[in-house]
């Protein structure tokens, strides 16, 4: 089996690992780095559960190979909170019951993390559009949309984040 060594940063920590070239980024994060907060709901790019942030952009980690990530800077759900302080998006999901089983949640959080940076004052239609590529089977999205709006307000009133 072909292997290659990659160096990348995940949640602010540098890693160097040798991986099979066919291993997906999702499996690499989950198995090689034990970052199991990135979930696999379909492995064919539709559900968005596996969404992580790569160099500032939300991407589907089931559709990338780990070896494509040489030098990349990755944020996963494990890196979203600041120590014990939840990120405002996480806080809003908690407060507004934006999750039930929680399996889809990391994907929604990271999709919104990128979206709200670009669109700090979104309309409800824009929020719905932004998360239309993430599937949730538990919530009907109702409270996710409410949480997203609340998070946007919180983030906007807190001013620009790094």
């Amino acid at each position: 089996m072909k292997e290659r060594t990659i160096r990348l940063t995940v949640n602010g920590r540098p890693y160097e690992r040798t991986v099979e070239v066919r291993k997906t980024l999702a499996d690499f994060l989950r198995e090689d780095l034990d970052l199991t907060g990135t979930h696999l709901g379909c492995e064919h790019g539709v559900c968005g559960a596996c969404t992580v942030v790569v160099n500032g952009e939300a991407v589907r980690s089931c559709l990338l190979f780990a070896v494509q990530l040489e030098g990349a800077n990755i944020l996963t759900v494990e890196g979203l909170a600041d120590g014990d302080n939840l990120h405002p998006i996480q806080e809003a999901f908690w407060e507004h019951h934006g999750l039930q089983c929680g399996f889809c949640t990391p994907g929604f959080l990271l999709t919104l993390y990128c979206f709200l940076k670009e669109t700090p004052r979104p309309s409800e239609a824009e929020i719905r559009e932004a998360i239309s590529g993430n599937l949730c089977r538990c919530t009907g999205y109702h409270n996710i949309v409410i949480a997203a709006r609340a998070a946007a307000e919180k983030l906007a009133s807190a001013g620009p984040t790094p």
Partner: protein, 786 residues
């Protein structure tokens, strides 16, 4: 001593969320046992075929492969899964964990390969050679039930796995008296629950202790253990089932599946942990599917809209096997029994069938049977409205059970224990602004048609063993249980037989327990999903957790609290009746200074030598209570859907959605509403998009999320929810189940709204899902008619 409820009925934030939000929660595939091997499964590409030869030798030689399991191996090591039912009309054949003589649906497990990782196991699958001899395929229940149809199970006389007939004796009279007779055939597509987390199973065998542990993404750990014990021929004391965080279930995760048995056999044989994780393709091929009915129904009514009776023939396509523990009868019997709904119907008769076909087995899915039965009935109610010229709301009103009729025995023999359908309808109509909606409706454009749909329903919840006995479903416990223990340091713990898949039991059951004992919620924790730590019970399905596990928890807590009070009375030298327990302290009423804390009582209870216990009181603070509730308690509700149908594209947009529901006392209204939102989404999905499609050769065509369409944010509306609260007289808690009403109500309300929208075009709605292509065809056919 009256107990004040401090947490119940409040919107407490969920305790499970911080773990889930930060990625720390462990779902099945996140568990790490060192040395774990991975299973990949070769599945049948044929819908019906004889297995001629299975050659696994090349796979055994593949790199990283540790073992290969075939149907022959399994036949020596395990019994087939058997779904038993007592009483006439049912027959079943076993389901071997790996196929031996025949395969009966595409996706059926044939060979299991276990290797160092899933990549390697899947590589090795390519080396397995299987020769099949294809057999005639049945994909249509009505053809499959005909005499002389090819048999799917050679040991059964035909493909009808279940048939029952019912007549309440008043139906002929009802039809004779009728001025209005309607006769229709309705169809509901095949659905799958598609939880975002697929199924999974991880087994580990401890040879020293002789204990086999199965971690499973399951809703029903004890019933799973019982099924496994039977299949593996092991005493239950040697089996432990643990459910980690579960990423949604909605029914299908309550069954015992071949893969559960496969990982257990391999873990036993290899002495290493063995794991199988379902991928989405496998989920869409093999996790229990649901619905798929054809329903021929006649209805009798008077000219002024009073419904007199129904005669129904329900035919349910249950796929290749009957599933443990619910059996193939679940969908047809539930559908048939719910058809009278919240109405005073005189006459009712039905024939209900579960028919085997060469498709994925069908089992439990949110709203099982009830969604179909309600869809059929509520469509007919609207048809009566159209024929009589009455408003659909008015027809419902004329037929409802009155609040004063309750408890009411419906024409199918169900006892509606509480609730007021008229009040529910009124509340929903008011919240929706129904009169204004109707006025507004007349302003439809020529391409976009607005429709308003109503649905009034009853929801069967919290079922006790009485219901399962009546149905003959002897493998379902029907009861649940709880152990309440106050630890020596004073924390209160509840161990329950429920198993959450996202419903938030860790929070809601803690609310219940904290109130019942009289302690702050912070002092309380809930343990579930572990057969070694929790007492035996049914688990979480059919909207039962709050009623049954919650009820058991209350009863156990009361016993513990009584004991706490007895000890405290002794410590305070006061009469028990004078004591109050609040916020973790027990004090003499009106004399807050004469108090002991729960911690002090607990210390004495566990270390009686540190003081003296009252003479007749045993040490420790613990009680276990089994609770077998009455056959059922019914939640009720009304949905109002407002849709715009684009007559040129067949696209439906839901513009308003209002729910009025009554589930008795709400433990946590925030969670109740969340359940409704999610259930409504699944009902809308079934009404408009979701359909598992098989071609005539039994090949599934919907094997990805590109083909099986779950609703997204773009299809779903905001969902407005209002409540009435009628606590049931029949349960200990005042709670009713409520997780399915959203699906039951939404399927029918959306179908009625679309039908209402397209009535001016002469379109009638009999078949779900109302996908754009189906609607487009219906609209065009209607337009072509003279």
């Amino acid at each position: 001593m009256a107990m004040a409820r401090r947490y119940v009925s409040t919107r407490v934030r969920r305790r499970e969320d911080p773990q889930l939000l930060t990625g720390r929660a462990r779902y099945l595939d996140d568990l790490r046992l060192s040395g774990t091997l991975s299973v990949a499964i070769l599945r049948s590409p044929h819908a019906h075929a004889r297995l001629v030869e299975v050659d696994v030798r090349p796979a055994l030689a593949a790199p990283g492969v540790e073992a290969v399991l075939t149907g022959e191996d399994v036949a020596r090591l395990a019994r087939p899964i058997r779904a038993e039912m007592s009483g006439p009309g049912y027959k079943t054949s076993g389901w071997p964990a790996l196929a031996r003589d025949k395969v009966r649906f595409v996706g059926e497990p044939v060979v299991a390969v276990v290797a160092r990782d899933r990549y390697g196991a899947e590589d090795a699958l390519e080396e397995v050679r299987v020769t099949y001899d294809p057999l005639p395929v049945l994909t249509n229940a009505e053809l499959s039930m005909r005499p002389g149809a090819p048999r799917i199970h050679d040991d059964l006389t035909d493909n009808i796995l279940f048939h029952t007939r019912f007549d309440n004796g008043a139906v002929e009279r009802a039809f004779v008296a009728a001025e209005l007779r309607l006769s229709h055939t309705f169809r509901h597509g095949r659905c799958t629950s598609a939880p975002m987390e697929n199924r999974g199973a991880l087994a580990s065998f401890d040879a020293a202790e002789g204990i086999l542990t199965l971690w499973a993404s399951s809703q029903s750990p004890h019933l799973l253990r019982s099924g496994l014990a039977e299949a593996l021929d092991l005493p239950e004391s040697r089996l432990r089932v643990i459910c980690p965080a579960v990423g949604g279930g909605f029914g299908p995760k309550m069954h015992l599946y071949p893969e559960d048995i496969i990982v257990c056999l391999l873990a036993q044989r290899l002495g290493r942990p063995v794991k199988w994780i379902e991928d989405r393709r496998e989920n869409l091929l093999t996790s229990a599917q649901a619905r798929e009915h054809v329903n021929h129904i006649e209805m009798a009514a008077t000219g002024d809209g009073v419904i007199l009776g129904f005669k129904a023939t329900l035919i349910c396509d249950v796929g290749a096997y009957s599933l443990y523990p619910v059996t193939a009868a679940l969908e047809p019997v539930t559908a048939a029994s719910i058809i009278p709904g919240p109405y005073r119907i005189q006459g009712y008769s039905y024939d209900a069938y579960a028919v085997a076909t060469n498709k994925c087995p069908a089992g439990a899915y949110r709203g099982v049977g009830m969604a179909l039965g309600t869809f059929v009935r509520e469509r007919l109610v609207d048809m009566v409205a159209r024929r009589t010229g009455l408003d659909p709301a008015e027809v419902r009103r004329r037929n409802f059970i009155a609040a004063t009729d309750v408890p009411f025995t419906t024409a199918s023999g169900l006892v509606i224990d509480s609730g007021n359908p008229t009040e529910s309808l009124d509340q929903a109509l008011e919240a929706a602004g129904y009169d204004a909606l109707r006025k507004d409706q007349r302003r439809s454009s020529t391409t976009t048609y607005r429709g308003i749909g109503l649905c009034s329903y009853t929801e069967f919840t919290g079922m006790g063993s009485g219901t399962f006995r009546r149905r003959g479903m002897s493998q379902i416990a029907g009861h649940d249980a709880a152990t309440v223990r106050v630890e020596p340091t004073g924390e209160v713990r509840g161990f329950v037989s429920a198993a959450s898949q996202g419903q938030g039991h860790a929070t809601t059951l803690a609310q219940v327990l904290a109130d019942e004992i009289g302690v702050p919620m912070a002092a309380v924790s809930i343990v579930e999903g572990d057969t070694e730590r929790c007492p035996y019970g049914s688990g979480s399905f059919a909207s039962r957790s709050m009623v049954v596990s919650g009820g058991a928890l209350i009863l156990a807590a009361r016993r513990v609290r009584d004991k706490v009070i007895a000890i405290a009375a002794h410590m305070l030298e006061a009469a028990r009746g004078d004591l109050v327990m609040e916020e973790g302290a027990i004090f003499v009423r009106g004399m807050a200074a004469r108090r002991v804390t729960l911690g002090q009582v607990a210390r004495l209870a566990y270390r009686p030598a540190s003081g003296t216990l009252p003479p007749s009181v045993d040490p420790a603070l613990e009680a276990t209570q089994y609770y077998d509730p009455p056959p059922a308690t019914f939640s009720i509700g009304t949905h109002v859907a407002v849709v715009d149908v684009d007559a040129e594209t067949g696209q439906v947009a839901i513009v308003r959605y209002v729910v009025s529901e009554d589930c008795g006392t709400m433990v946590n209204p925030m969670i109740v509403e969340g359940q409704i939102h999610g259930a409504v989404a699944q009902g809308i999905g079934a009404a408009l998009y979701e359909d598992v499609v098989y071609d005539d050769a039994g090949q599934p065509l919907t094997t990805s999320f590109m083909d099986y369409l779950l609703p997204t944010t773009m299809e779903l509306p905001a969902i407005e929810v209002v409540h009435t609260e009628t606590p049931p007289p029949v349960t200990v808690s005042g709670f009713k189940g409520m997780a399915e009403g959203g699906t039951i109500g939404a399927t029918a309300a959306v179908a009625n709204a679309v039908a209402d929208a397209l009535a001016p075009l002469g379109v009638e709605v009999h078949e779900l899902p109302l996908s754009p292509d189906r609607l487009y065809r219906l609209i065009h056919q209607a337009r072509k008619r003279p």
